[in-house]
Symmetry: C2
Subunit: 203 residues, 2 copies
């Protein structure tokens, strides 16, 4: 579309079990111009993980220098490893017309929101805490203790929903996907995507 | 959807020939909970026009008193007749869960924007001024002089597009309708539609 070729950044948060990954994968399959943001991390690569695809792997000294140079939009320490979202990586992708999904927890999203006002903030959740718990149990991959912890986290996370632009209550995957797709398509039509009239009236 | 039952106001502007009426009618046909805002007017009813459906017909004294009581979100004088959008009519419709389309020119939209920050502002246009002119000529309903006037107006109107939230460049009706529908569905998912977490987590 004339003039509307800048990429758009989508910050998506959801409690574990909300169906976020499924929905995002469906969206990226339908719209190949969307991809996940790639984080920097100081943790070691696991089997099959590829530098520049799954993560940018780096060492603690480099990571620390990057934080001091304000090169990250947000960063966090998890179990002794550092993870961060590079500002220049995001900027370059958007400039080239790529749409980016940044899958991040509410604390990270709040850090982003102070710096990136042009991004779209989406919160996804299951229709109830009971449903969320059932889904986690049905996965069969988590211990009872882990599930209790996930539920505690979920209760804290949903309190942040007001800081997001959109809320998707994922009751049925096809409906929720339609909602996510609508948000994606609508956000690409924002007037902020255009710099002037001449861009779209083909003068 | 639990908690998300408030109506939403959509302010739509478009130069004549952009296809706005067709697109809005398609949207209202698919989503019967949407209806046009009904204006107050001091002009006399034409054939078949129904009070309370096409317009609220009123006299100049009543209209003047309403402007003095700040009962209008916006109003204008056109060819000696007054037209206005009643705040309480809009509020009541939204409160009852009806979504409202207000079809209005950019001057009116700018008046609205000062007062109504929760509305969604959409600008629709043809892909070029040449295309706009061709469409007006093809309608065969307007004189050359009128078409020149419409084109002058169109050039002024599109300059306002930055004040709107969304821009639809209507090149093909099916694509433009899909875009309008996406905006409608997305805006119904705004977190501002919910007052708290308890509303959507069914606690």
């Amino acid at each position: 579309m004339a003039g509307n070729n800048k990429g758009k950044l989508f910050i998506i948060s959801a409690p574990r079990g909300s169906g976020k990954t499924t929905l995002c994968n469906m969206l990226m399959k339908k719209y190949p111009s969307i991809r996940y943001s790639i984080s920097y991390t100081t943790r070691k690569p696991r089997n099959n993980e590829v530098h520049g695809k799954d993560y940018f792997f780096t060492d603690k000294e480099t990571f620390k220098a990057m934080t001091e140079n304000n090169e990250f939009l947000e960063w966090a320490e998890v179990h002794g490893n550092f993870y961060g979202t590079s500002k220049i990586q995001i900027d370059n992708a958007l400039e080239s017309g790529t749409d980016i999904i940044l899958d991040i927890d509410p604390q990270g999203a709040m850090q982003m929101k102070e710096k990136v006002t042009t991004a779209t903030y989406i919160f996804i959740t299951a229709p109830s805490f009971n449903e969320l718990k059932s889904r986690l149990i049905n996965r069969g991959t988590e211990s009872d203790e882990h599930i209790s912890l996930r539920m505690e986290n979920a209760k804290k996370e949903v309190e942040f929903f007001k800081f997001y632009d959109y809320l998707i209550v994922n009751d049925a995957t096809d409906v929720a996907f339609n909602q996510l797709e609508s948000i994606y398509l609508a956000e690409k039509l924002r007037t902020t995507q255009y710099s002037n009239v001449l861009e779209f009236m083909n003068i």
